[in-house]
């Protein structure tokens, strides 16, 4: 045979072998990935089944137990188990639209039981309606468990794999088996939408939280051109030439506002976006896109600049309560003050650029949602009495009165006792009327500043 033919044959063989090896490698890798994915989906599903089983029995036991100590344990376990169930459900490949109500149900179930446990731990009586609510939640949980079991019997039949849901992401058709399982989940969700009760209680996931209305929106409706004037005034832009104002938009959220975008010419100037509330013309937030890159002014100077900025805009009574430094920016939180009492819910935040002290962000959403005329109760405790309520290990540094927001948006008048335990600093909130310990925050010193956790 001709040498050339040998070489050609050799090359062809090499090509086939090489190509074949490559295809085989790719296939092997793809299969391994698919199996790993399938395993994580299966784990999430079977763990979810186990969570539901445990929830069922824990809820039953909470209702059956006659000892408040035992009941506290069962109720807090419900919270823990419900949170796990939520996380496992969140890992299922069924698409968030098909499980939003189920997620909410589990979150509220856990939250509700946690609040009941807290009540028991404080020695408060669980009311008849609350027992009834708990029994109803038990019934509902049992139904979800049954529904999931039905879905499971479909899964155990041959050949179903969760990863066949991958086509959901592209709005393609599912296989009939996968479709029936997806339908199973969305039916469960629908059923909850129709049957599960509205839950209003003292926790962060209670239904009343989302229906919160702003309390600080005072004044008349303003026009677009008034909003424009307020924005320019707020930014001290009257005399400055060389800026352009884009079309003014409208938002339709909890605080309906006019959105104004301001284009400033020149390098390093940044664009400014500012929202002015349609009712009363309050500036809701402001963002300047500039990124400062040097630290030229001191921490104290930056805080003073922020205070001056607020004072010039009619917020003179605000006191700085915390700072966070991120790159060359310092964000300062402020609370309002009434008769020497710090009002934490009236929250305003200001970001100062540390290169030239310009205010590059402002946020008054918290203030506008919470601020109102408050009829604060008279404290029943003296500061000394409050200090006696904190842990004996604590070395008290300072005590002052403060109004704090609870997770259910309720406000409480407390003594804020700042002190040290084993070198760590804490803020302990003692209810000024009842003497109950309402909340503890740990102050963590970081390079970015002090964070309350």
């Amino acid at each position: 045979m001709d040498l050339r033919k040998v070489i050609a044959l050799g090359l062809t063989l090499l090509l086939l072998v090489g190509g074949g090896w490559w295809v085989w490698q790719t296939q092997r890798r793809a299969r391994a990935t698919e199996y790993a994915l399938e395993a994580s989906y299966q784990r999430a599903f079977f763990d979810l089944m186990k969570n539901m089983e445990n929830l069922n029995s824990l809820l039953g036991k909470s209702l059956a137990s006659g000892s408040s100590g035992q009941r506290i344990m069962f109720l807090t376990s419900v919270w823990h188990e419900a949170e796990n169930a939520r996380s496992n459900l969140g890992n299922m490949p069924i698409g968030m639209v098909n499980m939003m109500r189920s997620q909410q149900y589990l979150a509220q179930l856990g939250d509700y039981c946690y609040i009941l446990a807290e009540k028991q731990a404080r020695g408060l009586e669980i009311k008849a309606e609350e027992w009834q609510q708990l029994a109803q939640l038990h019934e509902q949980t049992r139904e979800i468990h049954t529904g999931l079991r039905e879905i499971m019997s479909g899964i155990e039949e041959d050949g179903f794999q969760w990863r066949s849901f991958a086509s959901l992401s592209r709005n393609k058709k599912l296989t009939p088996r996968a479709q029936s399982i997806a339908d199973g989940f969305s039916k469960l969700d629908e059923k909850l939408r129709d049957q599960a009760p509205t839950l209003t209680y003292d926790g962060p996931f209670s239904d009343h939280i989302e229906e919160q209305e702003p309390r600080g929106l005072t004044g008349e409706r303003i026009s677009e051109s008034e909003a424009r004037e307020i924005a320019l005034d707020f930014l001290d832009l009257e005399e400055e030439a060389g800026y352009k104002i884009g079309e003014i938009g409208k938002t339709r959220g909890r605080i309906p506002a006019y959105s104004i975008a301001i284009d400033r010419e020149g390098e390093d100037k940044g664009q400014i976006a500012i929202d002015v509330s349609q009712q009363g013309g309050h500036v809701v937030w402001m963002l300047n896109s500039r990124i400062p890159r040097e630290d030229n002014i001191s921490f104290t100077e930056a805080v003073t600049r922020a205070e001056d900025f607020l004072a010039k805009r009619g917020l003179a009574k605000m006191v700085p309560t915390g700072t966070i430094k991120e790159s060359s920016r310092l964000t300062v939180s402020f609370a309002s003050q009434e008769d020497g009492i710090i009002i934490y819910p009236d929250l305003v935040k200001v970001t100062v650029a540390l290169d030239d002290g310009e205010i590059i962000a402002y946020d008054a959403m918290g203030f506008l949602m919470a601020h109102h005329r408050r009829d604060l109760p008279e404290p029943e405790l003296t500061p000394e009495e409050a200090e006696k309520k904190v842990s004996r290990q604590m070395e008290v540094q300072r005590t002052r009165l403060a109004v704090i927001p609870m997770s259910n948006l309720e406000e409480k008048l407390c003594y804020e006792v700042r002190g040290k335990v084993n070198g760590d600093t804490y803020l302990v909130y003692i209810n000024a009327v009842t003497g109950d310990e309402e909340k503890i925050l740990q102050l963590v010193e970081t390079e970015a500043g002090t964070r309350a956790m």
Binding site: G18, W22, P93, M96, Q108, G253, R254, A273, A361
Partner: protein, 175 residues
Amino acid sequence: MVEQKPRGSKGDHRLRLGLAAALVVVVLAVGVYTHLKEGPYGNGKTETAYAPQAGEPNYDDIWLLARMVASEARGEPYEGQVAVAAVIVNRVRNPRFPGTVAGVLFEPWAFEPVLNGTFWSAPVTEEHVRAAEQALNGWDPSYGSLFFWNPGTASSPWIWTRRIIASIGEHVFGL
């Protein structure tokens, strides 16, 4: 053997052989490269403007949110970037969605960039990091929105059943 066609010149043969050899080399190179390359998203070396200090709280949330902003809101106005990050923060606090930033971002089929890998490869700039930090500090130009979509490209009819709250750049934000 009867020669049917006149053979080409020697140079022609060399060219053909050379081409065949080149093809082999290319195929092998592609195979070896695919084999050596780790994972489907490149070698994991992506440009990032964020170097967190050790022990800084929240840093993993900032890192994840900045990636989300980089892959979902690149080229959007700054307030639009903050709004995208704020939607994630709003979801974390909402009972209908998982309770952590990672849980929300990696919920199956929730976000396109996570599905197609751009979440890991989009270059993160200082602006994206600042947007993430601002949203974590409470700024929310979306007014509590739980969804955002691009009206020009959104393919799911379900998304249009949402109540629109704000419109910033190419995105609309809704509940």
